[in-house]
C-alpha cells in the first residue's frame, strides 16, 4: 500500500509520550465520530490502553457550521492503564471555525490545534459567530496552531480518479484528518485501510476517495514541515493478558443481557420506547434476532415495562430500558413487579433532568427515584456499572439477582457510560457462572397444594410458568396472603408481607465493599456508577504526588454491602463525589449516621480527574 513505499523510518524526530488525549471536532456532517472510532480501533490494536467519549450536538440537526452543530470525539490513550477519556485534549483537530469556537474554552495553553484552513472562509467564520477570522486576530496565540488546507489537499489527492465526484472528496476530508493524526501518533495504517475497503466495498469510487484522502493525510504528516515531531506512545505493559475488544457501555450492556439470557436459558425479550440516550440499547439488541432476541418498540414506556413483565410471567428474561421521563412512566408497572415478585430488569440510562432537562447530557440523579420512587413500601435491588466494560458484568449480576430472587432490579447506567468506550477483556462464555431459573414443575399433592407465595431460603417464591400442568394459579397487585398468595386484606398479613418483601431484598448476597489506595489514610473517597474512573484517576494523581487517600466504589446501591457502615466509620472523613445534588450521600447518612460529605456537580459532563484531585487536596 501507498505508505509502504514511503520511508517507514521518517526523517522527523520522534518523541515518546506516556499518554495523549486527542479530540476530533467538526460539523455534525463532517464524520468526526467515524474518524474517532477508526483511530480508536487502530490504537486498540496497537495495544495502548484507551478510553473514548463522543460528544454529540444537543440539537437533532443544528444549522451546518454553527456551534450548536459541532460534533466531537475524544480519545485518551496511553502506555499504561487508563481510567477516563481525559479532561482536556493535547491535540484538537478542528474541521471548521465552529468546532474551534466550541472547544477553545476547554483548552490549556500550548495545546496543539490542527485546523482545516479551507473551512475558515468569511461565511464559515460568521456562521460560527466570530466577528473576525480567529486564525488572523491572535485569538490562537496561546496555542500551537497547524493550518492545513485539508479540503483542497483531498481534492488534489482524488484528482482524475475514476467516478469520484468533488462531493465524494468533500466528504472524505475526515479521513485526511484521520490519516494525519494516525501518522502523528504512528498508528498502524492497515487496520484503517482494511476497514475502509470493507465498508465501501459496494461503492468503489467512494472507497478510492477515502483511501486516497487517508493516505494523503498520512503523507502530509510525513512530508510537510508543519509538523516536525512524530509522537510514539508505547503499548500498555500493565495490561492483563487476554483477548480484548473495544466496547461502549451500550454494547457491553447488550452483550451482558444476551450472555445472561444464554447462561440462564431464558429467552431475552426487551420492551422499550425510544428515548435519548437509551434508544441505542434498543437499536443494538434489535440486531440480535439471530440469537433469539426479541425487541418490541412499545407504544409508550408504560407498555414497554408491562411487555417486559408479561414476558417474565411467561418465563422469559423480561427487560425494559429507558432514560429520564421514561423512568417516571414505568413506576407503576415496576411496583406491580415488586408485588408479583417476578424477575425483571429495568435499565435506566440516566440523563440530566428534571423533566425533559438536557437529553444529551449525563447525570446520576435518578438514584433516589430508583430506590424510593414508587408509592407504598416497594423495595427492590439497584446496581450501577462503573465503566463501559463493567456494564457487561453489572447487567449479568442484575439478571442473576432478578432471576434467583424473583424481583425487579434497576440498573442505573448513564449517558456517559453508554457512549464512552474502553477496551474490554473478553470473558470465556463457558466461564460465566450459569444462572438457574429453577422453574417449579412438580405438581402439588393433596397434602401439599401449590403455594405461589411460599418461599425458599432466599425468601424467593416459586416461578411456575403458564403451560405447566397442575400449577395453574393467579397473581396480581392486591396484597397476597403469605404462602398461598390469595387476596388478603388482613392487617397482620400485610405487615408480614411488607417485612418479607423488604427482608428478601435486604438479604440479596452482595460482595463486601473493597477499599484500595492507602487503606489506613484518614480520608476515604467513595464513589458509585460512572464516576469510578475520574475518582480513581484523581486519587492516583494525589497518591503519585505523595498524598495519602483510600478509595472504594459501590456497585450495589441496594442492598449495600454488609461492611459498608464499618468501612465508612473507619475514616475521619468520607468524600462522595456524584453527578447529582448528593443523593447517595443522603442514603448513607440515613443508614449509618456517618457525616458523608458530598462533592456534587450537575453540569451535564462527567466528573473530571482534576476536580477530584482538587477536592481531595482541599481535604488532606
Amino acid at each position: 500500500m501507498a505508505v509502504d513505499d514511503a520511508p517507514k523510518s521518517s526523517p522527523k524526530s520522534v518523541e515518546e509520550r506516556e499518554r495523549v488525549i486527542v479530540r476530533f471536532a467538526g460539523d455534525s456532517g463532517d464524520g468526526m465520530q467515524l474518524a474517532g472510532s477508526r483511530f480508536t480501533d487502530a490504537t486498540a490494536v496497537l495495544g495502548n490502553d484507551l478510553a473514548t467519549l463522543p460528544d454529540f450536538p444537543a440539537e437533532i440537526r443544528a444549522p451546518a457550521g454553527t456551534v450548536g452543530g459541532v460534533s466531537a470525539f475524544q480519545i485518551h490513550f496511553a502506555a499504561r492503564d487508563i481510567l477516563t477519556p481525559g479532561d482536556t485534549p493535547n491535540v484538537l483537530v478542528a474541521m471548521n471555525p465552529a468546532a474551534l469556537k466550541a472547544n477553545l474554552p476547554t483548552l490549556e495553553r500550548g495545546t496543539t490545534i490542527i485546523v482545516n484552513e479551507d473551512a475558515f472562509t468569511v461565511r464559515g467564520v460568521q456562521k460560527a459567530g466570530y466577528a473576525v477570522n480567529p486564525l488572523e486576530d491572535g485569538t490562537l496565540e496561546p496555542y500551537q496552531v497547524k493550518r492545513v488546507p485539508m479540503t483542497s489537499l483531498v481534492q488534489r489527492a482524488v484528482e482524475g480518479m475514476e467516478g469520484v465526484t468533488s462531493r465524494d472528496a468533500q466528504k472524505a476530508k475526515n479521513l485526511f484528518a484521520l490519516g494525519l493524526v494516525s501518522w502523528l501518533y504512528d498508528r498502524p495504517v492497515e487496520v484503517t485501510e482494511r476497514w475502509i475497503e470493507g465498508k465501501f466495498a459496494s461503492k468503489p469510487h467512494v472507497m478510492e476517495a477515502n483511501l486516497a484522502a487517508f493516505r494523503a493525510g498520512w503523507s502530509f504528516g510525513e512530508t510537510s514541515e508543519l509538523i516536525d515531531v512524530q509522537v510514539r506512545v508505547a503499548p500498555a505493559t500493565d495490561v492483563e493478558p487476554g483477548t480484548y475488544r473495544n466496547v461502549n457501555g451500550t454494547q457491553a450492556t447488550a452483550l451482558g443481557l444476551v450472555a445472561a439470557s444464554v447462561r440462564s436459558g431464558l429467552p431475552l425479550l426487551l420492551g422499550a420506547y425510544p428515548i435519548t440516550p437509551a434508544s441505542e440499547l434498543l437499536h443494538e439488541l434489535s440486531r440480535h434476532r439471530d440469537l433469539g432476541v426479541r425487541t418490541i418498540q412499545a407504544e409508550d414506556e408504560i407498555a414497554a415495562a408491562s411487555i417486559a413483565l408479561g414476558a417474565a410471567f411467561g418465563g422469559h428474561l423480561g427487560v425494559t430500558s429507558t432514560s429520564g421521563p421514561g423512568m417516571d412512566l414505568k413506576t407503576e408497572t415496576i411496583g406491580l413487579a415488586v408485588m408479583l415478585e417476578l424477575p425483571m430488569l429495568i435499565i435506566d440510562v440516566q440523563r440530566a433532568g428534571p423533566s425533559t432537562g438536557l437529553p444529551t447530557k449525563t447525570e446520576q440523579s435518578d438514584l433516589l427515584q430508583a430506590l424510593y420512587g414508587r408509592h407504598g413500601e416497594s423495595p427492590l435491588p439497584v446496581v450501577a456499572p462503573s465503566s463501559p466494560a463493567d456494564a457487561f458484568d453489572t447487567v449479568y449480576e442484575a439478571a442473576r439477582i432478578a432471576i434467583i430472587y424473583r424481583t425487579p432490579v434497576i440498573v442505573l447506567s448513564d449517558l456517559y457510560v453508554a457512549n464512552s468506550s474502553e477496551p474490554w477483556k473478553l470473558p470465556d462464555a463457558s466461564s460465566l457462572a450459569p444462572i438457574e431459573p429453577g422453574f417449579r414443575t412438580q405438581p402439588p399433592s393433596e397434602d401439599a397444594p401449590f403455594a405461589p407465595y411460599a418461599r425458599d431460603d432466599r425468601l424467593a417464591r416459586p416461578w411456575a410458568i403458564p403451560g405447566t400442568p397442575g400449577l395453574t394459579h393467579r397473581i396480581g397487585g392486591l396484597e397476597k396472603a403469605d404462602g398461598t398468595g390469595g387476596i388478603s386484606y388482613d392487617g397482620d398479613n400485610h405487615q408480614r408481607m411488607t417485612d418479607l418483601r423488604a427482608a428478601k431484598v435486604a438479604g440479596v448476597d452482595v460482595p463486601d465493599l473493597e477499599v484500595s489506595g492507602d487503606e489506613d489514610a484518614s480520608l476515604l473517597i467513595l464513589g458509585w456508577g460512572s464516576s469510578c474512573g475520574a475518582i480513581r484517576a484523581g486519587v492516583r494523581r494525589v497518591r503519585q504526588a505523595g498524598g495519602r487517600v483510600a478509595v472504594a466504589h459501590l456497585h450495589h446501591l441496594n442492598p449495600l454491602p454488609a461492611n459498608t457502615g464499618e468501612v465508612l466509620r473507619r475514616y475521619d472523613r468520607v468524600l462522595l463525589p456524584e453527578m447529582n445534588s448528593g443523593q447517595l450521600s443522603k442514603v448513607l447518612r440515613a443508614e449509618f449516621l456517618v457525616d458523608v460529605e458530598p462533592y456534587t456537580k450537575v453540569k451535564g459532563q462527567p466528573l473530571f480527574a482534576a476536580e477530584i484531585e482538587r477536592e481531595i487536596l482541599d481535604r488532606v
Binding site: V262, I296, E299, G310, F313, R474
Partner: protein, 355 residues
C-alpha cells in the same frame, strides 16, 4: 348464579380416543366470587367456563390477563394461569406474554373504564398490531369497582357521583373505535344471552389475531337496566339486530319485519320496514370483506343500546398476526444458541490479543 363458581375441582376426563377432554369444572377456581348479587359478570363467567371445554385447550395452556375493576376480578375465578395486572394495562402485559409464548391461549378481560379510559392507548395499539389475544370488554357503561362514576361509554348527560349535574361528554362507540384502530375481529354481544355469547366466544377463540368482543354487562348496583333494550326478552326481539355473515340484515319480533339498508343520503346505513323496501333489497352482511367501511357503518346504527342495536360479528378478517412468523424464527434461533454462539458474538468486530 354464583353457586357453581365454587363447585369442587373435577378431574378431567379421557374421551373414547384417549384424548383428554375437559369439563366446565376444570376451569372453575375455588376462589369465592365477589361480585354483587345479580351482577352480569356471573353470567359471563359461567358462559366462558362453559365454552372452554369445547375448545379442547388444557387449563394450564390458558392465561387470563385482567386490569382493575369488577371485571378485572375475572382472572381469579378461572382455574387457569392468571394475572390481575394494573388498571388499563392488560393489553400491554398480554402483548409481552404473547410475544414470549405463542403456545398459549391468552384472554384479556377488561371493563369500559379499564379498556377505554385509562387503557385506551394499549387497546388501540394491540388492535393495530393484531396481537394474538382475545379481549373481552365488559361494558356496563359505568365505573363499578370505584362505586359509580361516569365511564367513556356513559351516555351524554348521565348523572353519576363524578357528574352530579350530568356528564358533559359524549360516549365512545367501542365498535367504531376498534374499527378505526384497524381491528381484524370485532363483535358485540350481551351478558345473559346463553346462545349468542358462547357463539361469539367460539368465534373469537378461532380467530388468528386480536379478537375484541364488546359484552353489554348489567351493573345492577350502579347502572341497572342500561341494556334492558337487549337483555329484556320482550324488548330484545324488537331491538337486537343480529348480524350474520352472508345473510340479509333483518330483525324483529318475528325475526324479519325490519331490516337494514344503505342510506345514499348519509353514506351510512339505516333501519327500515322490510315491507317498504322488500327483503331482497336488504343489506347483506359481509364480515369478511377487507374494507371495514361496512362494519363501521353498521356500528353507527347505535352508540348507546336504547333502540335497535347490532350484535354479532361486525368484522372478521385475516391479516398478519403480530410476531406470528417471527416467533417461530426466534424459537429456532434460540435452540441453536449455546456458549459457542455466545463466544462468537462476544468476539465480533476488531479484537486484539495480549500475551
Amino acid at each position: 348464579m354464583s353457586d357453581h363458581v365454587t363447585s369442587p375441582r373435577a378431574t378431567s376426563l379421557r374421551d373414547a380416543a384417549g384424548q383428554t377432554t375437559f369439563t366446565k369444572a376444570d376451569f372453575q377456581s375455588d376462589q369465592e366470587t365477589r361480585w354483587c348479587p345479580g351482577c352480569g359478570d356471573y353470567a359471563i363467567l359461567s358462559a366462558v367456563q362453559g365454552v372452554f371445554p369445547e375448545l379442547g385447550i388444557a387449563p394450564e395452556n390458558v392465561v387470563f390477563v385482567t386490569g382493575i375493576g369488577c371485571a378485572g376480578r375475572f382472572s381469579y375465578y378461572m382455574d387457569t394461569y392468571g394475572m390481575h395486572g394494573i388498571h388499563g394495562r392488560g393489553p400491554a402485559l398480554a402483548t409481552g406474554l404473547a410475544a414470549a409464548r405463542d403456545d398459549l391461549s391468552i384472554w384479556i378481560v377488561s371493563g369500559d373504564g379499564d379498556a377505554l379510559s385509562i387503557g385506551g392507548n394499549h387497546l388501540i395499539h394491540a388492535l393495530r398490531r393484531n396481537v394474538p389475544v382475545k379481549i373481552l370488554l365488559f361494558n356496563n357503561q359505568i365505573y363499578g369497582l370505584t362505586k359509580g362514576q361516569a365511564s367513556p361509554t356513559s351516555e351524554l348527560g348521565k348523572i353519576t357521583k363524578s357528574t352530579p349535574f350530568g356528564s358533559i361528554d359524549g360516549p365512545f362507540n367501542p365498535v367504531s373505535l376498534a374499527l378505526g384502530a384497524e381491528a381484524s375481529f370485532v363483535a358485540r354481544t350481551v351478558d345473559t344471552d346463553k346462545q349468542h355469547l358462547p357463539a361469539m366466544l367460539r368465534a373469537a377463540a378461532a380467530h388468528e389475531g386480536t379478537a375484541l368482543i364488546e359484552i353489554y354487562q348489567n351493573c345492577p348496583v350502579f347502572n341497572d337496566g342500561a341494556f334492558d333494550a337487549l337483555r329484556d326478552k320482550r324488548q330484545s326481539g324488537i331491538n337486537a339486530i343480529r348480524l350474520e355473515h352472508g345473510q340479509p340484515i333483518a330483525f324483529g319480533v318475528e325475526g324479519a319485519e325490519r331490516g337494514v339498508v344503505r342510506d345514499p343520503g348519509t353514506g351510512g346505513v339505516r333501519v327500515v320496514d322490510v315491507a317498504d323496501v322488500g327483503r331482497e333489497n336488504l343489506l347483506v352482511h359481509d364480515a369478511h370483506t377487507e374494507d371495514p367501511s361496512l362494519a363501521f357503518a353498521l356500528s353507527r346504527l347505535s352508540s348507546v343500546p336504547t333502540g335497535p342495536t347490532p350484535i354479532g360479528i361486525f368484522r372478521s378478517v385475516q391479516r398478519p398476526v403480530s410476531g406470528r412468523e417471527l416467533g417461530a424464527e426466534l424459537g429456532a434461533n434460540r435452540a441453536a444458541v449455546g456458549t459457542e454462539r455466545l463466544d462468537a458474538l462476544l468476539h465480533t468486530g476488531d479484537t486484539w490479543t495480549i500475551a
